[in-house]
C-alpha cells in the first residue's frame, strides 16, 4: 500500500505582496513501511511539504493522500495516524516528561486506561524512563528530541514525519537517534519520512531518498540507483602535464568538462568511460601514468550536482 501519494501539490505563500512558491507541483509516492528521506537545501520546501501532508496548512492546488485520506478533508484523521517530530520540539518546560506526554496523549483523545502503559512504553523505547519525573526544562537537546519521538509513539502512529531530527545533536546523540528510528521501522513497521539536509545521516537509514529543489522533487530512488545516474568522474595523475596534453584530452568525444586541475592531477567529468582513449593519448606523448581511475561519487556530490 502507498502511504503517501501527492499529485501536483502546490503551496504558494503571499508575504508582503510577494508570491513565494514553497511547493511547486510536487509529485511523490511513499510506500508503507519504508524510510523515505526528503533531502534538499534550506528553503527547498521540505518542511512545507510535511506540513501539507499533515494537514497543518492547506495546499494552493493539487492533492495528496496519506493512507488514502485526503489532506484537506480528512486532516484530523491523518493526524490520528501520523505523528510529527518537528525541528524545534516544543514542550512545557515546567512540567515533567510524564506530564507532558500525558497532556498531549489526552489531547489526542487517548483513553485514560491506556495512558500510563503507553507512556511507560514510549519512555522506555527512547531510553528516558529514568527521567520520567524530571521537568523538561532540565533536558538536554538530545533528550528533548527523544522525548518528542516518545510523544508521537504514545499514539502508536502508522507514519512519522521527522523534520531535521538530528539538527544540533552531537554525533553520539545522532547515532542513538538513528538507531531508534531504524528499530521503529524494523520492529513495528512504522513508515518514516525524514526531512534533512544532512546527507550522511539520510544515507545511513533511508531506503529511498527524494531530492527537493525549489519546491519540486527533482529525483527519487534508492541511494545506489541515484549515484549511478551521476556523470563519471575520472582521475588522471601523471608525472608531467602540459597544456597541449590537457587540450587533447578535453577534445575527446564524451568529455563534459575539467573539474579540477591540481598540479599534475586532473579530475574530469565524462559521459562514458574514456580511460582507454586517455591512456592512448598519454602513452603517445610519452607521459608516465601514475593514476587513471574512475572516482566513485558521493552522495554529497550527487546533492551538489542536482542542486546546480
Amino acid at each position: 500500500m502507498k502511504a503517501i501519494v501527492a499529485k501536483d501539490l502546490t503551496k504558494i505563500y503571499r508575504v508582503r505582496g510577494r508570491r513565494i512558491i514553497a511547493v511547486n507541483k510536487l509529485n511523490l509516492k511513499i510506500l508503507e513501511g519504508e524510510i523515505f528521506g526528503l533531502l534538499g537545501p534550506n528553503g527547498a520546501g521540505k518542511t512545507t511539504t510535511i506540513n501539507l501532508l499533515l494537514g497543518l496548512t492547506s495546499p494552493t492546488s493539487g492533492e495528496a493522500y496519506v493512507f488514502g485520506f485526503d489532506i484537506v478533508r480528512d486532516s484530523v484523521k491523518i493526524r490520528e495516524l501520523a505523528g510529527l517530530v518537528p525541528e524545534k520540539a516544543g514542550f512545557y518546560g515546567s512540567l515533567t516528561a510524564y506530564q507532558n506526554l500525558k497532556y498531549f496523549a489526552e489531547l489526542s483523545g487517548m483513553p485514560s486506561s491506556e495512558l500510563d502503559e503507553r507512556i511507560e512504553w514510549a519512555l522506555k523505547f527512547v531510553d528516558l524512563s529514568g527521567w520520567r519525573d524530571v521537568p523538561v526544562k532540565a533536558f538536554s537537546r538530545g533528550m528533548v528530541q527523544r522525548l518528542a519521538l516518545a510523544r508521537v509513539l504514545v499514539r502508536r502512529p502508522r507514519i512519522i514525519f521527522l523534520d531535521e531530527p538530528t539538527a544540533g545533536l552531537d554525533p553520539k546523540a545522532s547515532r542513538k537517534y538513528r538507531l531508534l528510528i531504524k528499530k521503529l521501522n524494523r520492529d513495528y513497521g512504522v513508515t518514516i519520512v525524514i526531512s534533512s539536509h544532512m546527507l550522511h545521516e539520510v544515507r545511513r537509514i533511508c531506503h529511498r531518498i527524494g531530492f527537493m529543489k525549489k519546491g519540486k522533487i527533482i529525483s527519487t530512488g534508492r541511494v545506489e540507483e541515484l549515484l549511478k545516474k551521476l556523470k563519471l568522474r575520472i582521475l588522471i595523475e601523471v608525472d608531467q602535464l602540459s597544456s597541449e596534453i590537457l587540450n587533447e584530452i578535453k577534445s575527446l568525444n564524451g568529455v563534459l568538462g575539467i573539474d579540477k586541475v591540481r598540479g599534475n592531477k586532473v579530475y574530469l567529468t565524462a559521459s562514458r568511460d574514456l580511460r582507454l582513449e586517455i591512456s592512448k593519448i598519454l602513452i603517445q606523448r610519452g607521459v608516465l601514468i601514475k593514476t587513471l581511475k574512475i572516482v566513485h561519487p558521493t552522495l554529497d556530490e550527487l546533492f551538489m550536482q542536482l542542486n546546480r
Partner: protein, 281 residues
C-alpha cells in the same frame, strides 16, 4: 496552559483580594454606623470595589491574554498541539474558555470576599433587590475583564513577538485607564468655556471612548439604586426621591452594557478568524 497554577495569575488575584479586603474592612470601620444597606457599605469603601476591578481586573485580563498564542507559537508547543488530531479552532476556543473560567473565579472570589466581610462584621444582610444588583455587578465585572482578555488575546494572535503584543495590550489599557480621562480634562480646560456645564459635557463626551468609563458608569448605577444614567454623553446623577428598580437601571444603562459585551464579542471573533486563517508557522 494552566492559568490557576501560574505565578502571574495567583499574584494578581491575591493582590486584588488583599486590596478588596483592606478597603472593605476600612469601609466597615469608618461608615458602619451611617451605612444603611449592604450596597451602601460596598460602594463607600476607599478604594471602592469598582475602582479595584476597573484597574486590577483589567490588568488581570491583559496578563492572561497577551501571550496566550504567540508564546506557544514561539516555544513550539503550538505546533505540537496542532499536530495532534485536534481541530484548529478548538485550540483558540479552549484558550478562551479557560481564560474566561479563570477570570470568573477571580471576580467571584473578589466579590464574595467583600460581601463575606461585610456580612460577617456588620450582620447586614442583602435584600432581594440588592442580591440581584450585586449579581448583575458580578456579571458586568466578568464581561469587562473578559473584554480586556479578548483584546489581549487578539493582539497575541496578530503579533508574533510576545513583547510587542504586551506593549500593544498595555497601550490599549493606558488609553482607556488614563489617556482618555486625562485628555478629557485637558480638552475641556482648553475650550476655556465659562460655562462649567459645557465643560462637563465635553469631558463626558470624550469619556465615552473609554471602555473603563462605560464599566464604571454602569457599575455605579447597579450598586446604587439612586443613580441615574445617560449615555450621550456618559452622565450619572443622583435621584433624590424614588430609587430605581434593577430593571429600570438596566433599561437605562443598556447602551454601555451593550458596548462592553460588543467589544468582547467582536475581539473574540476577530481572534478566532485570525487564528484559524493565519499560517501558524
Amino acid at each position: 496552559m494552566d492559568y490557576f497554577s501560574s505565578f502571574r495569575y495567583i499574584t494578581i488575584v491575591m493582590f486584588l483580594a488583599a486590596l478588596i479586603s483592606l478597603s472593605t474592612y476600612s469601609s466597615i470601620s469608618r461608615v458602619r454606623s451611617e451605612a444603611t444597606s449592604f450596597l451602601d457599605l460596598i460602594t463607600r469603601a476607599t478604594p471602592s470595589i469598582i475602582t479595584l476591578i476597573t484597574y486590577i481586573g483589567s490588568i488581570l485580563g491583559v496578563s492572561l491574554g497577551f501571550d496566550s498564542i504567540n508564546r506557544e507559537r514561539k516555544e513550539g508547543t503550538l505546533l505540537a498541539v496542532l499536530s495532534c488530531p485536534v481541530y484548529r479552532d478548538s485550540v483558540i476556543v479552549g484558550k478562551f474558555i479557560s481564560g474566561a473560567i479563570s477570570i470568573m473565579v477571580s471576580i467571584l472570589l473578589a466579590n464574595l470576599l467583600a460581601s463575606g466581610l461585610i456580612i460577617a462584621f456588620t450582620g447586614i444582610s442583602l435584600s432581594l433587590d440588592e442580591a440581584y444588583r450585586f449579581l448583575a455587578f458580578i456579571l458586568l465585572s466578568f464581561t469587562y475583564v473578559l473584554g480586556y482578555y479578548a483584546i489581549s488575546m487578539l493582539f497575541s494572535v496578530l503579533i508574533d513577538e510576545v513583547s510587542v503584543s504586551l506593549l500593544a495590550s498595555v497601550i490599549f489599557w493606558m488609553i482607556n485607564a488614563y489617556i482618555v480621562p486625562s485628555i478629557s480634562w485637558t480638552i475641556a480646560e482648553m475650550m476655556s468655556l465659562e460655562n462649567i456645564e459645557y465643560r462637563r459635557v465635553i469631558r463626558a463626551s470624550i469619556l465615552m471612548f473609554s471602555v473603563n468609563e462605560h464599566y464604571r458608569a454602569v457599575s455605579i448605577c447597579l450598586l446604587n439604586p439612586r443613580a441615574a444614567y445617560r449615555l450621550m454623553p456618559i452622565t450619572i446623577w443622583s435621584i433624590p426621591i424614588k430609587p430605581l428598580s434593577l430593571m429600570e437601571t438596566l433599561m437605562t444603562t443598556w447602551p454601555s452594557i451593550v458596548t462592553l459585551v460588543a467589544i468582547t464579542i467582536i475581539c473574540t471573533v476577530m481572534a478566532y478568524i485570525a487564528f484559524t486563517s493565519r499560517e501558524i508557522f
